[in-house]
Amino acid sequence: MTETLQPPAKPANPLLADPRVTRAIELVWHEADLLDRKEYETWQELYADDGRYVIPIDPETEDFENTLNMVYDDARMRRMRVTRMTEGYAIAAVDAARTVRTVSRFVPAKVCEDEVTVRSAQIVVAYKRGNHDVWAAEVTHRIRLSDHGDRIALKVVRLIDSEDAVPAAGFLL
């Protein structure tokens, strides 16, 4: 029997249909894929030169400069981190967990002509030597849009257990 499908209800947030937001989400997904595949050299190219990659401990803070973070990377630290992850000296990276992540529940927080800020939920499952660790986080991406390629200006990964003890990691969130 043939049924006539009803047109889908409009998204609760009309911004989700905004092509600028779609571009941002595509970049976030691309980043997630690169990280799961540990293609770190390509990954760092997604960042703007002045871009920051942050995993804070304090769940409230926006002042990353004056607080202790798990990761607070500018371009220089990111470059060194990628070297560390790929050059083969770091035993944690050489024998890193395999990861699979999903990024979803996108909420566009701010959209303007050349920049989009989107919040999302990220679940990473990391498997190593018989153990599965779950890394759940609220993620914020600020993405700079440009005809020369969209770039990440800021990524903040707020782990739901950021103040608690997490495993020491040989991969990136």
Binding site: I57, N66, V71, Y72, M77, A90, E163, A165, P167, A168
Partner: protein, 432 residues
């Protein structure tokens, strides 16, 4: 005493006999019964580090933490006394405080609202008529641990008869004084804490803080990422002046950068690291003189040593490394970042730099910690094999000599500090 560990006898040997002068049995990492005995014979019978005084800045400040496996709340009461209270209601045993740090007037149990003061005294019971003629409120305060401190380091113990903290520390006190000089003329405060866990026995971490031998191998990745001056500073492998002392009572100090052991000893010949040039500029514009700037910037990497206190804290160059045993094969580690405590325009630029240095090496995503944790994980996995086979702690045994102070001393890459800790372990595990 058993001279040899063999598969047939390894589980019959008393734990204290598993420590020999140059080796310990692998069973010490893997046997749950030994772990249970350690919790009562060591963690409930000696001084365990619980806080730094800067974490309790005023009356009402509290911090919840653990002594061994037992949950405690460390408080500062209205009289300024620091108390360590078992985090357990005297009524039906519920935990009173699940907040890590904060300010409070006291603690109220969420279950039946028994309320306690910052000193642990039972203040109020709802509907108290049911207890008339049954119980005296005065007898029902929270269990209180003996609490003493030295140099800002706060320790607690379940053992009311143990010798005073200062006796337990002994020659360590001199090194605590030296460690705190990294405030560069200011007191030291806690800046933040990294926490991570690894699947391994707590003694693997205890050993690691006095293991100079692993540094260039496990931390090659970190060494490759720092500036030349910092890499050079940590190149102690063939430096004969870099030594480890056994300070007694299980404590030891490993001097990796001996010229920074006493930060007051400065003849001015050592140039400040170029990487800190912008901090120097900021401090100058804050009105600080050259000598004061030099003191703060020269201490940026901390002191030149790891001071390892048995059983749970290492004052490690620039930060505190605190271990908490969870089970025989799981341990939780805190890396507590430190910096000077003073006027914001002076200490903030310094502490921003110190935070970045700390993040670079420490914590679950640092360039050092994950590699350490991988090494420890591998020790626990490997040690499952042949529990009778020894873990070797014999490096440098033949070149160990007493220092002028009388401390057994050997090269910084030697296992003198591990032998010191295991000697104390053996002594405490043989006490009834």
């Amino acid at each position: 005493m058993t001279a040899e560990f063999i598969a047939e006898n390894i589980y019959d040997i008393a734990p204290s006999d598993l420590v020999l002068a140059d080796r310990v049995a692998g069973r010490m990492y893997t046997d749950p019964e030994i772990f249970e005995a350690e919790m009562t014979k060591i963690f409930e019978r000696t001084w365990v580090w619980v806080a730094h005084e800067s974490e309790l800045p005023k009356a009402g400040s509290f911090k919840s933490t653990f002594v061994g496996r037992q949950p405690v709340i460390v408080t500062k009461d209205r009289k300024g006394t620091v108390n360590t209270l078992l985090n357990r209601c005297r009524h039906r045993g519920a935990s009173l405080c699940e907040q890590r740090t904060g300010q409070a007037n006291g603690f109220t149990c969420p279950y039946h609202a028994w309320s306690y003061g910052l000193d642990g005294a039972l203040r109020g019971i709802p509907y108290p008529d049911g207890y008339e003629g049954v119980m005296e409120k005065g007898d029902m305060g929270l269990k209180k641990l003996r609490t003493e401190s030295y140099g800002g380091m706060v320790f607690a113990t379940f053992d009311n008869d143990v010798a005073p903290l200062e006796d337990f520390l002994g020659d360590v006190k001199l090194w605590i004084d030296r460690f705190m000089k990294q405030g560069g003329g200011y007191p030291v405060k806690v800046l933040g804490t990294h926490r991570f866990r690894f699947r391994g026995n707590w003694k693997i971490q205890l050993e690691n803080t006095t293991d100079g031998y692993h540094f260039p191998i496990v931390h090659r990745s970190w060494m490759a990422s720092v500036d030349a001056e910092t890499a050079d500073m940590m190149s102690f492998m063939t430096d004969p002046t870099a030594v480890t002392h056994d300070l007694g009572n299980g404590h030891s100090v490993m001097q990796m950068v001996p010229e920074h052991s006493d930060l007051d000893a400065d003849n001015g010949s050592e140039p400040l690291q170029p990487r800190f040039a912008s901090v120097v500029t900021e401090l100058k514009s804050a009105g600080l003189g050259d000598a004061e700037i030099r003191k703060l910037v020269r201490a940026m990497h901390g002191t030149g040593f790891n001071l390892n206190l048995f059983p749970n804290v290492s004052m490690s160059i620039s930060f505190l490394r605190v271990l908490r045993p969870v089970s025989v094969d799981e341990t939780l580690i805190e890396h507590v970042a430190l910096g000077p405590d003073g006027p914001a325009e002076i200490v903030d630029p310094v502490n921003r730099e110190r935070l970045r240095i700390h993040e670079h090496f420490q914590g679950p995503f640092g360039f050092g910690t994950p590699d350490d944790a991988e090494g420890w994980d591998r020790v626990q996995r490997g040690a499952q094999g042949a529990p009778e086979m020894p873990i070797m702690v014999n490096r440098g045994l033949a070149r160990e000599t007493p220092s002028p102070e009388g401390w057994a001393t050997s090269h910084v890459t030697d296992e003198t500090g591990m032998r010191a800790a295991y000697d104390k372990w053996k002594q405490m595990m043989s006490d009834d």
